[in-house]
Amino acid sequence: MSQLSSVFDIIRGWPDGSACFWEFVQDSGASSDIEEGTVVSVVAASSPTSVDRHTSALIGPDSDQWDHPWLVIRGKESWDSEFSGKLSCLKLRTGLIFKVPTTLTPSVGDLLWANNGAFTTTDPGGGVHHLGKVLEYDSTDKWMVVES
């Protein structure tokens, strides 16, 4: 969305119809710049609050609660994110439909989880909650539309 060559887009849920919008600092421990379309979550006890790439899992003191993933909609590939030092995010599972480039070959209806910030159709098991569902997939241009 932020780059002319990008296929990433928010179809529903932003800007006026959002979901839940927030800006976070990228965690200093992140392995590389976090870009749009990446799934992130807050880093425990970080100050200021920072985010890093997310892997779907049950969380909490008893590891029996849903995780809280966010989708980066403006990441380090954009100048304004670099300038402000913030990643703009929408909270997943709050009413979003978005288009994102993918290397997966999903089928419509596939459920999605996150693995180190990237979408995956592989269920990690253990009752981990999915974070969205594939609504459309274009095998030619390699993008998918996801509801969350």
Binding site: A19, W22, A45, G60, P61, D62, T94
Partner: protein, 148 residues
């Protein structure tokens, strides 16, 4: 929000700027368990005559049917709410970021649940459904920011 000395605020998700959350307005239970002020977590219940009222809520067990809880945004501490005998609420888990006073100790990433209407840190063995995650904690000013 309704009181000048209050730190409570809805940071994202309040209509019409965001896709809130579901907004609702209910009479308080008579008498309520506690004063239903802004920032209190409530649930709808039957007043005994088939009419809905709200009262302070406690999250259900982690493996129970998911709760339908609401955040009081204008409660009995405000004149207009008292005058109208209605409590204004936003539904949780629908895309909200809110700031609420607390004297508790929280860290970024903590999960929270409702304990008799009060937002409480989810600790090991609590066996309660989380209502959201702390994304900012300021012990000096005495508030937390919760995403749900």
């Amino acid at each position: 929000m309704s009181n000048l000395n209050s730190q409570f605020d809805i940071l994202a998700g309040e209509p019409p700027s965001g896709r809130s959350a579901m907004e609702g307005s209910f009479p308080p239970k008579s008498p309520p368990t506690i004063t239903l002020s802004e920032g209190v977590i409530v649930a709808v219940e039957d007043d005994g005559t088939g009419n809905p009222v709200v009262d302070a809520a406690t999250s259900s067990a982690a493996d129970a049917v998911p709760d339908y809880l609401w955040l009081v945004t204008r409660g009995s501490d405000s004149w207009d709410s008292s005058f109208a005998d209605k409590i204004s609420c936003l539904a949780l888990h629908t895309g909200l970021v809110f700031k609420v006073d607390t004297s508790g100790s929280f860290a970024v990433g903590d999960l929270v649940y409702a304990n008799a209407g009060v937002i409480t840190k989810l600790t090991a063995g609590a066996d309660k459904q989380a209502i959201g995650q702390v994304i900012e904690s300021n012990a000096t000013a005495g508030y937390i920011v919760v995403a749900t």
